[in-house]
């Protein structure tokens, strides 16, 4: 009986070995400087709250053995951040190379300090363009250089 249970466990775990060497490469960055020119209507008004990066400021590529499926998760790793600032990402392309499928991530989603599913796919693919949006900017955010890293993690399924 014990041998049978172990056999089942081994059978279920074995496919993960075949998924093997999933990898994600990330290129690009995004920066935004906000000053008095961002006041909505000059003195007496607040700052424009929302800012959007270019549609392909960040580009991802996923490499995986064979036809296996994968998820890309995203989270924020802060160096200095303000709790009023909200960072969002969306996928703006289906990739430019690779024969696999891709789904999800095409609407802005809030990025937090915890991993959240961004999008999914199959096989190796590259050229996933990612757009960044920032909101929550106001005069209540003290002046400073805020920085974080959008961290993308590929998980082989």
């Amino acid at each position: 009986m014990l041998g049978g249970m172990l056999a089942i466990a081994a059978f279920r775990a074995a496919p993960a070995l075949a998924a093997g060497t999933a990898d994600v490469s990330v290129s690009g960055s995004w920066s935004q400087t906000i000053g008095a020119t961002a006041l909505v209507s000059g003195p007496g008004s607040d700052l424009t709250a929302s800012y959007v990066g270019g549609p392909s400021d960040i580009v991802l590529a996923v490499t995986i053995n064979g036809n296996h499926s994968w998820n890309v998760n995203v989270r924020r790793v802060d160096s200095l951040w303000n709790q009023n600032l909200n960072l969002y990402v969306q996928r703006t392309s289906d990739g430019t190379a690779g024969s696999g499928q891709v789904s999800g991530g095409t609407a802005y989603q809030l990025v937090t300090a915890s991993d959240q599913l961004f999008f999914s796919g199959t096989k190796s693919q590259s050229g996933f363009a990612v757009q960044v949006k920032l909101d929550g900017v106001s005069l209540q955010v003290p002046p400073a250089d805020y920085s974080t890293t959008l961290t993308f993690t590929v998980v082989a399924l």
Partner: protein, 168 residues
């Protein structure tokens, strides 16, 4: 039918379990930077004229206040700001017995900027302004003078320049 010993299955299961975390996930990062600059922007529009007249037998000339000027402020300083107003000596018409006051709606009340022709230095017109905005605050000026101390041969305009300053 051949079956493997339990020890073999145990080895395979452990090998699979140990191998999975190392192979399943890798990460990459894209740096994001947001620079919020220091913002301290104040504007005050010009007032209208203050017309002073005397009644018969009175040495004092006075007239209605003017509240047409507007003050606007945006700032994101971590510490509260205050606003002062002053007429610099260079901007004070000389040798005339004129008194000029100012107040800002919601501020520190009426302050005398010029007393009998003498500039009074910076006067606090608004205090303890947290990060945020002051929008469209009415600035009210009053003026008065004496006939004996303001000698003119015809109707004359005296111009004052009032300087508003934000301070920590």
């Amino acid at each position: 039918m051949r079956t493997a010993p339990a020890a073999v299955w145990t080895f395979l299961a452990l090998a699979a379990a140990l191998a999975r975390p190392a192979a399943a996930a890798t990460s990459g990062g894209a740096p994001i930077s947001v620079t919020i600059q220091s913002i301290d922007v104040l504007s005050v529009t010009d007032s209208g004229p203050l017309n002073l007249q005397a009644s018969a037998g009175s040495n004092v000339l006075s007239g209605p206040a003017d509240s047409s000027a507007r003050l606007n402020l945006s700032h994101n300083s971590a510490t509260a700001l205050r606003i002062t107003a002053e007429v610099l000596p260079a901007d004070d018409p000389p040798s005339q017995d004129i008194t000029l006051t100012v107040s800002v709606a919601g501020g520190s009340g009426q302050k005398t900027l010029v007393l009998s022709g003498g500039a009074q230095g910076p006067q606090e017109v608004y205090s303890s302004i947290p990060a945020g905005v002051l929008t469209d605050k009415a600035v009210t000026y009053t003026a008065s003078c004496t006939a004996s101390g303001t000698k003119v041969s015809a109707a004359t305009s005296f111009d004052f320049v009032v300087t508003f300053t934000t301070l920590n």
